[in-house]
Amino acid sequence: MGKAEQSGSPSSGRAMNATQKMFARACSRDWVTPGEVVYPDPELVIVHDGFVETAYKELTGLGYGRITTPEKVIFLTDHEVSYSSQRAVERGRNIRSIAKEWEVDQFFDVGRGGQGHIFPIESGLIRPGMFVMCYDMHCTNFGAVGALAMAVGPEVTSVLATGTIWTEVPHTINIRLQGQMPKGTHARDIGFLLSHGFASGRWAFNHDYRVIEFGGPGLVGFSLAARVALCNSITEMGVANVLFNEPPPGINVSGVPDFLSDPGATYEASIDFDLSHIEPQVALPGGPDRAANVADHVGRPVDHAVIGSCGSGMYQDFVDAAEIMRGRRIADRVRMFVVPGSTATAKRLANEGLTQVFIDAGAMILPSGCGPCAGGSMGPLGPGEVSIATAATNHTGRFGAKEAEIYLGSPLTVAASALSGCLADPRKSLQ
């Protein structure tokens, strides 16, 4: 693995990296410079069910009766899908009323779309080259198809009111993937290793609010699901976005605007990352950066296992897990949840017999959405319990009880662990 170095050619004239291109287009300009503050015009503005009421309260409190460009706004419900409290029922009703009052016609209510960082990719709402703004930080998943989605958090109220918000053009770090991943490893394992490397200062660059752009020969053969998993598993470190310098697999890119970096584009830093010797990882409880070899933690009993959510809720993720689980039963003391990322994926899993594989194994299928990862409103974790999950994050209390432990892993690791009842190395299950 190489060390940080400058790349890009000063003689390349106006060569731009992908981030600059998408920002420039959103600003109706020919060029933007990393570090400058701009006011981009997003093609879409996405807000999930956890924030619609708050945005409405804030804006009506200020005297707003309308939002600026409702035709660009998408509301979607993925955090609390199958209501489990009176408050959730009320919230659902309020969101429907707000969508009507604000004339937000692109509204994906419960049971309509699925997880908000997955189904827009699958349905084609998000396309290569798009510039969008989202409430939720895991919109970085959209980088898998070559779209730049900026997470604006609670300031999405400004975007709803004015159509834009001040945004600093982020610098880009180029990670060249080398070699091929060994069997039994997964893009999430790469993400945990990189997160650990960023957090521990392994490389001589600052990753805070940087776009991470992947390229290199190691990227060949990555499925769209693998790209999503990689985007997702490094997001919690505070990166601004994740992009790839190759067209997305399986996506028609004819007629889309330019979304790849130019040869000779400038990066703030570049590193090489060798995939050929990585091992299956778990992120220990506390954060995705707390990567460790699964092999060193095999045998830790688990009570709860989850495959899905925005971390790994694509069809291919379930195919990978089913390969391990087909014809087997999960351990008696484990409860397992399968959370398809979209209603379309849920249908496909049913049509192609994979739902049967999971049910036969003893797993439960939850409605498409965030699953337990939205604070444990579905399938929560109790005090003293241990989970292994493909969730986006494993901070304290994320699945419910604060006194619980959440390990993150790939769909392969989760499947293998659910079968054995303990953290397990998926390479053994694939032998």
Binding site: G65, T68, G153, G397
Partner: protein, 198 residues
Amino acid sequence: MIKSLQKTGRCHVFGDSIPLDEGVMAFAFAIGRITDPAELIPHLFECIDPSFASRVMPGDFVVAGKDFGCGKPHFQGFIAMAALDMGVLCGSMPRTSLRGAISKGLPVLTGWSPQHLPISDGDVIEVSMETGMIKNITQKSSASVEPMPIVLQDIIRHGGVGGQLKGWLDQHPQLQLQPGAVSVLQQDIPIKWMKGAQ
């Protein structure tokens, strides 16, 4: 509302890497979508300093080391701090957290270090966001850091993003609520049957 970019206040000093969740404020308030300052203020820094809420006074400063407000960008703590008219002086802050604090109207100046200018718990400091000058009035010392970026100064002058949005609404009257409009959230929703109603 135009707020001053100069603040004087008493300091509460913390170390490096104070996280937002389970540091500035328990995660439960974020996932509970609590935004009422009155509910949040009693729980400020409760996870790492249970007596903080009983000691803090309006106008005080939080002084912290590097990476203040790290972790998930949940801003409930910043809502409480802004409501208390507090300020933050720290070594550094993740970009997303910094803009979150500013958006709530909480002024933050970064670039400080204890080697640069020693500050102890209880010291009174005077900070100019506009020039970056920090005076420790108690210890009679001073130092300067980079001033707050201009784009952030403007937000703080308006008391946060809400103040800016009021200005925008004045310039775009077509977005205003119609006289007599009733918030859809004020409708009485007759659901009282579910166990564990929150």
